[in-house]
Amino acid sequence: MANFILPFLIIALFVYAAIKRIKIYDSFIEGIKDALKLVYSVFPYLAAIFIMVNLFRISGLGAFVTRILEKPLSLIGIPPELTELIILRPFSGNGSLLLLEDIYKAHSPDSYIARAASVVVGSSDTAFYIAAVYFAESKIIKLRYAIPAALLANVVGFITACLLCRYM
């Protein structure tokens, strides 16, 4: 059912635009030009973050930070198996999906750890990446309390996820 909705909506949009006598081909090209401009302005931020994340992980600094944070995080109800995932989550979407697959392999996908990890990933997003991408084109550089507020809200979500998956 859902498979039909998207093509149907796009057909409806094209027909509606034709009825409204809009130059469809020209507008389409305009939109694609926007896409190029957008990625052009986002790329420097992406490259900087990815270079940083790569150094962070491969140097072993990531593993070190994970070990330091295991204790305090387990005090607020987050099991040590999830520490690495929680640290990586705000930086890299693909990275956390790969880590999630590793967790599925190490524990069964229906275990508590795997389910809690699934909800951690499913209910949060990559704060640093979104910050870089969303604000890139607007040239807004002073984000004030945006990132701390987002990370704090994510932590509340992580605690909730670990708690809920014990009972549900």
């Binding site: 150094l55 969303y134 004030r144 309390y145």
Partner: protein, 194 residues
């Protein structure tokens, strides 16, 4: 961000200089390469979505979509302009439908068109609210995660749905509360100072 960037890079490079100095350059270039790979994918995806969006705008359908969530959008984003509200609504709709790839370009457009402060390079409380709500994920059905669980052989891959929805709502509400509390405290301090 500048301080964090400095710290992570310098400490990582320090460790690598001791452990594996030869690999430093290739690690950094690999980072750039992943950014390039992702950018190419983004160009492909955004070409489709922004072209469709252009048609939505030209047909003025965006104004109709805006009226869908008008009360909640006006409540969350006080005194925002109409154009920005349209992008915000479309970003919300795409997120709720699980079309993350369409939500991102709409989010960027929303930030671009939102009202600015006198300091043009500073994020307004509305922008911060919008960013925080996106960072706590408005997506109700985690399609990718469910697919990964199914692929890993889970007996009931979708049984995380209810905890996931509750968690999403809890983290969105706490994000909303944090932004409101922090901006209230900042305003109070400002009026005290002046």
């Amino acid at each position: 961000m500048n301080a964090l960037f400095f710290l992570i890079i310098v400490i990582s490079l320090g460790i690598l200089t001791v452990v594996a100095p030869d690999s430093v350059l290739s690690i950094m270039i690999d980072g750039g390469k992943s950014a390039l790979d992702l950018s190419l994918k983004m160009i492909a995806i955004y070409s489709v979505w922004l072209a469709v969006l252009k048609l939505v705008e030209k047909t003025e359908l965006d104004k109709k979509i805006t009226s869908l969530f008008e009360p909640i959008v006006s409540f969350l984003y006080k005194d925002e302009n109409k154009k920005a509200k349209a992008y915000i609504t479309m970003n919300m709709t795409a997120n709720l439908l699980g079309m993350g790839s369409a939500a991102t370009p709409l989010g960027i457009k929303a930030i671009n068109t939102m009202n600015r402060d006198l300091d043009k390079d500073t994020a307004t409380p509305n922008m911060i609210m919008f960013f925080v709500l996106n960072a706590t994920s408005l997506q109700l059905i985690p399609a990718t995660v469910i697919a990964l669980r199914a692929a890993a052989g889970s007996a009931a891959p979708a049984d995380i749905l209810i905890p996931n929805i509750i968690t999403s709502v809890v983290s969105a509400l706490s994000g909303f509360a944090f932004v409101k509390i922090i901006s209230y405290l900042k305003r109070k301090r400002k009026t005290k100072a002046s």
